[in-house]
Every structure is written in C-alpha cells, then in structure tokens.
C-alpha cells in the first residue's frame, strides 16, 4: 500500500478524480462573495445578526399591547430586574409603531400609580434605535377557507377538546391577520417591510404574477453589473425580481439595515398551506398533505429562485412551500443571522435550499426533494473554527442527486437529519476553483443522522430527477478534501456502494492560492474522525448492508476510524482498505493506493481515463449487497 514511488501520480490522479464528487459551485455566488461580519449590527435594536435567529411566534398583533401591559403590571410589583427589563424591551419591539406610544403612556401611569419602578427611558424603550414590528399580511380570498380545510385534515392534539381549542386559536389568529391584509402578492408586502417587521403569508397558492413578469436582464439594471460582468448587490437592490420571485433585500447601498430582522412566515398550520409556486402554468393543487409529485419530471419555471435573502441580517423564512424553480427554492447570501424553518422545498431544480457565505445560519424541520444537484446546500460557510456557524437539524432530504452538499461547508453541524433515496447522501468538499472562499473545508460535524438507501438513479433514461452533477449512486457520506471533520453516531445503511468515503484533494486542484509553486502539497484530508457509527443496520436491528461500510483513498494524515459497529461477527464492519487506522495509530500517514486511484481515474470525467470504461460503475445503480 505504501508505495512511495506512486505518491506523486496518486496525488494528481486522486485530485482530479476527486472532483467528480464535488458539487460544482459556480452557480452559488453571484458576485465575489464576502464573508459577513459575525458581530451584531447595533445600529438597530434589537440588534441584527451576531447570533442564531429565533423564529418569532405568530401571535395576534392586536393582543400584543394587552400582553405587554399584563407583563409590565407583573414586573412593576417590586424591583424590576435586568431580565425583566430585557423581556420588556423584547415585547416592546414586537409592538407596532402605533402601539408603542400607548405602551409608554401605560408605563407612565403604572409608575405614577405605584410610585416606583423605572421610567420607559430607563428600561431602554425610548432608544432611538428601537424598532417596531409591523405585521404586513399577504392573503388571498380563499385563505380562510383553505385554512379551515387544512385544519379539518389534521389532528393538532390527541385530545379532542384540546384539538378543537388549538384549531380555534389558529383560526382566530388568522382572522386577525386577514383584517390586516393589504396585499395579494408577497413581494410588495416584503418591500413594505422595515427593520423588525413580520411578513405574514396566509394560506394560498402564490404565483406572484407581478414579480414573475419582471424581465430577466432588465435594461434598467444593465449598468449595475460588476467589473466581471456579474450582477452586483446594487443590481439586486434595484431589480430584486430579475432572478427571484420573492426577494428580501436587507441593506441599502451604504450598508445600513433597511430590512433586517424581517421574518417571512406562513400563517397556516403546516408548510403545505402556503405554496409559492414557480412552475409555469402549474395549477393550484388545492389543500394537500403531500405536494411533492414523486416520479414527475421538473416543469418549466418562471424564475430562478423562489425566496431570497440578501444581506438581510436576522431573517427568518418559515412555514411555507417553495417549489418549481430553475435554480433554488430558498437562498441566502451574505447574511448574518438566517433561519430557515419548516419549509417544503420541492423541485428547486439545482438546489432546494442554498446558503452562501451566511453566518449564524439555521436550517431545520424542512424537507427538500427533487433537486438535480443538492437538496440542501450550506456552501462557503465562514471559517469560524471552533465556532459552529451553520446548523442543519431535523431535515429530510430525499430524491435529489445529492442530499446535502457543501463546498467549503466548514463548521457546519448536521444533526438528527434524514438523508435517504438520493444518489449520494452527503458530500462536503474543498474544491475552490469555482469560487468558494474558505478553503479548506474543515470542522464539519455530522452526527446522529440516518443516511440510508441512497441508491436513487439520476442518470438513466428512466430517471425523473436528472443529475446535473456527477455524484456516484449508492454513497452515504463523502468527504472530498476536508480536515478535522467528525462523523459520529450516525446510522448508515443500505447504501449499496459505500457507507462513507474519504478522499483527498491536493492543493493543485483548489488553486487557492492559485498556482502555488508546490502544487502537490496536500492540505486536505487530515485528522478526520469516524466514530460510533452504526453501519449496515436499520433501526429495529434488521441487516441492511452497505456495499462497503467505510472507504478511504489512503491519503492524508491522522485520519481515524473507531468504535464503528456493523452487523458482522463481533460488530465488525466492511472496510476498504481492510484495516483502517484507529485514533491511537502512530504514525498515521496514508500514502495512497494505485489500484484504487485507477478506478477513480476511470470514473473521472475530465481525466485522461475513459469515463465510460467498464471499470467505472459509479453512475449505474450498484447491485444490492448481500448479507455478511
């Protein structure tokens, strides 16, 4: 194995071949992306960014003042603590501009009456940076009837009485929203938003005809491309619907927050109640539980992107469905503080979700399916080591070419998700040639996920999702050039080629910095750890073998595999090479394997190898592996 004479060849071959794993990334940035400053923007209060963002509860806006008063009454009994003051400030910020003066007057009266307690100014309510929250509502005529129909289809609580009560609350809240409704399209509602506002989308089928009609390559914005010809931020500022059906543009051209801390939230009981539709001529499916048309091919689209956040620090997109967009369902770029929650992202024809140079980024409770590249894509996450900058949790990604992909997806924590029925479950890589800052990818944590049955054919004539990127069929997790990643406690089974694969990417591939003199330097594929994973065993204990459980190209230092358990004798796993180093191994240096590289080379589309060679079976569904 350790034929040092092969090292140079192997390094070059592996590097080239490694690229076939990668999700090409040019599509992701739209100008030279910049990492956002992860510090909070204190020009407004509550501050924007600087932390992960919580989705606000969709409370009845007419009742917030009452609740503020009730809280103030209880807090003003004795000494008002710091926590109570902070709480009060938070509640105050959720009041509308017309409610805030009433709240201050109430506090004045309260103070007079009780003869004690701080003034509004002392609590910080008169801070000129303080924002108010307007509730801006988009609705359709049938919003309430759709809601009722949807609720009739659901049980919100096992107890019948409680179920009725919860439904009454949801309906009452939506009735309040309906009173506030001024828009029948989402984009004009978003454009009306200021810092701290909430845009509520009531149940309905939104095709956004006005935004959809906005021209591509708008002549009004032609002069706003950057030096390289790419649309600049100013371009999107002026022509927000050139690419996007709905665009949340967070800052003005001087960089000041104009729509920070804006949350766009569907007011239905489930994401399927609000459908943001990008398909041309697609009919309203009505109220349905499942909006993913499994087995159907993608349809023509009106726009590239469904809902976008650009420099919109503190944004939340929640509780809606975005489907049929030629690029991405939802997208964030250069945003500090971004939460995607409870979304259904179907047929984002490149990516369901895409975040790019976004910090304090959360994607949770969502489902992505039908993407010809990756369902979920946290790319170019900031190199914030050791701080985790992106969290993906409780998502399901299925029927995509890749379930989760992230070039330079560093410091991303992927936990409690399900990746199933994709061609490849997860890919993280370091291929920077296509414009991702943050080389090398590092410090991702993948834990407690279920990664199974990723044998989805996206290549044959019969494929109804047709991959735009070469990703092998039958792979669970692939790291193509990354350092210090942790893969632990996952359940990985029924992936017919590999459960996991670790492969290096020499610097010559990444060209970052470009054309360094020592092109064969190996900066990646070091110190990666695979531990405590359950391989080839489904929940319940049934054996569902992977082709190979743990595979390594045998390049890189300090990589180790420990305490992984399979269905074999004594809990053994299938590995390639047969013996993988454990974490106590010293020295722990892999120098590559020529035979393995040959296979990789034959599958490398851009190598001198013939990608249609008989030895390359990566794009055919592998045979189901037999039991041990």
């Amino acid at each position: 194995m350790k034929r040092v004479g092969h090292v140079l060849l192997v390094v070059a071959l592996v590097g080239v071949c490694a690229t076939i794993f990668a999700t090409p990334s040019f599509a992701h940035g739209e100008r030279e992306p910049i990492f956002v400053n992860p510090a909070p923007d204190t020009s407004i209060h509550p501050v924007a960014g600087g932390d992960f963002v919580q989705r606000r509860a969709l409370t009845d806006p007419f009742r917030r003042l009452k609740r503020f008063r009730r809280y103030a009454r209880s807090a003003w009994r004795g000494r008002v603590t710091g926590a109570e003051r902070a709480n009060l400030r938070g509640r105050y910020a959720r009041l509308s501009p017309s409610q805030q003066p009433k709240a201050r007057r109430y506090l004045r009266r309260l103070r007079r009456k009780r003869g004690k307690g701080p003034t509004s100014a002392q609590v910080g309510l008169t801070d000129p940076k303080m924002t108010a929250e307007r509730t801006i509502v988009a609705c359709h005529d049938d919003s309430m009837s759709r809601l009722r129909q949807s609720l009739a289809d659901q049980r919100l609580s096992p107890s019948r009485r409680r179920d009725r009560k919860l439904k009454r609350i949801v309906i009452a809240r939506n009735k309040s929203f309906k009173k506030l409704c001024r828009y029948d399209e989402i984009q004009p509602a978003v454009e009306q938003a200021n810092n701290g506002d909430t845009v509520v989308i009531m149940p309905g089928f939104y095709t956004e005809p006005t935004a959809a009609k906005q021209p591509h390559n708008d002549p009004d914005c032609r002069g706003l491309v950057d030096d390289a010809g790419a649309p600049s931020y100013a371009y999107h500022f002026k022509c927000p619907n050139d690419l996007n059906l709905v665009a949340l543009i967070g800052k003005n051209l001087e960089g000041r927050c104009i729509r920070c801390n804006v949350q766009i939230i569907g007011s239905g009981k489930r994401p399927q109640d609000v459908i943001i539709e990008g398909g041309k001529g697609v009919r309203d499916p009505g109220v349905k539980r499942d909006l993913f048309d499994e087995g159907k091919r993608p349809v023509p689209t009106t726009k590239e992107v469904g809902v976008t956040a650009e420099r919109a620090d503190g944004a939340v997109f929640a509780n809606f469905t975005a489907r049929n967009f030629s690029e991405y369902g939802v997208y964030s770029i250069e945003t500090d503080g971004m939460t995607f929650d409870a979304l259904k992202l179907f047929y984002g024809q490149e990516y369901g979700h895409l975040s790019f140079v976004t910090d304090h980024n959360t994607l949770q409770n969502s489902e992505a399916a039908g993407s010809a590249d990756a369902g979920l894509y946290p790319g170019a996450a900031p190199p914030s080591r050791p701080r985790i900058n992106t969290i993906l949790r409780r998502n399901v990604s299925h029927h995509n070419a890749i379930g989760l992909s992230g070039t330079m997806g560093s410091n991303v924590r992927t936990v409690d998700n399900v990746f199933r029925h994709n061609s490849t479950g997860i890919v993280h890589d370091s291929l920077g040639q296509a414009g991702h800052p943050g080389f090398p990818q590092n410090s991702a944590v993948i834990e407690r996920n279920r990664i199974y049955s990723n044998n989805f054919d996206t290549y044959s004539d019969k494929a109804w999702v047709q991959s735009t990127v070469p990703a092998p069929i039958g792979a669970g997790i692939i790291f193509a050039g990354g350092n210090d990643n942790r893969v632990r406690g996952n359940r990985i089974y029924d992936n017919w080629k590999w459960g996991t694969m670790l492969i290096s990417v020499p610097d010559v591939i990444t060209r970052d910095p470009p054309r360094i003199p020592n092109e064969l330097k190996l900066s990646t594929s070091h110190r990666n750890l695979y531990e405590g994973n359950i391989m080839g065993i489904a929940p319940g204990g049934a054996e569902k073998p992977n082709g190979v459980d743990l595979r390594w190209d045998e390049l890189g230092q300090g990589n180790c595999w420990e305490s992984n358990r399979g269905p074999g004798p004594g809990g053994s796993v299938r590995t390639d090479p047969p013996h993988l180093p454990n974490c106590a191994a010293s020295p722990n240096i892999g120098t590559g394997d020529a035979v393995k590289e040959r296979e990789l080379l034959d599958c490398g589309l851009l190598s001198t190898g013939d990608s249609s060679a008989a030895t390359c079976d990566w794009f055919r569904t592998p045979p189901r592996p037999g039991p041990r």
Partner: protein, 125 residues
C-alpha cells in the same frame, strides 16, 4: 467581459442553434435562465451557455460547440473569485474535455459549465 456586438451576435446565434434558448421549443424556458453567478450583460447567450447540458452539446455542430467553448471561457474567466482569477482552459482542450465528458449516456444532463470549471483542473499527462 463582453466583446463586440458582432461577436455577441454570433455567439447568440450559436447558442440559439444549440437549442439553448431564445428559439422557443422544448427548451424555451431555459432561454431566460442563467445562474446567479453568471454574467448576463448582452443578449443572454452567456446565460444560455451556462445552463447548457451535454445533450445540447452532443446535438450541436462543430462551430456551435466552438462558440459555446468561447462563451464558457468568458464566464469562467470573469475572475471575480480569488481562486479563479485568470483561470482559462485552452479552447481546443476545453473542446476535447467536453467531447469526452459528454459521451456517456449518463452524462446527458450534466451542465457544460460545471464540466468546464472542472476542466480547469490539470489532467494528469
């Protein structure tokens, strides 16, 4: 980034002939498509090239393919990323790469642009 009007026109024609857009038909929706990262001054030909796939490559004539390679070179050489500045593949090499990469049936939907950016990587010789 964009050359003269003549060149643009020729490129647009080539892309059009490739079925990448502006010509209506089954791929009509793609005519207006471009990746957010792509330059799109001009007639949209570049965007078409960025979205073109191997099927279209395989159906195109020699001249159309050449024009597409030029377009892809222009897109990828726009140099707005630190790791990408100045990256350009000789046109004949790019042509060969796309020919080879697009040959297998399974590659039918691979984006030419994605393949091109990979081709910027040095192949072992």
């Amino acid at each position: 980034v964009i050359g003269g009007a003549r060149r643009l026109g020729a490129a647009a024609l080539a892309i059009c002939a490739l079925g990448l857009g502006a010509c209506g038909g089954g791929q009509a929706d793609k005519s207006e498509r471009f990746l957010p990262g792509n330059p799109r001054t001009g007639a949209g030909a570049l965007s078409g090239a960025a979205q073109a796939d191997c099927r279209q490559w395989n159906d195109a004539s020699f001249r159309q393919r050449q024009a597409t390679v030029e377009q892809l070179a222009r897109i990828s050489n726009r140099g707005n990323y630190p790791g990408q500045r100045g990256a350009k593949l000789p046109d004949d090499e790019a042509y060969d790469v796309l020919e080879r990469a697009c040959k297998p049936d399974y590659a039918a939907h691979f984006r030419l642009f994605k393949l091109y950016t990979r081709a910027l990587l040095p192949a072992p010789r």
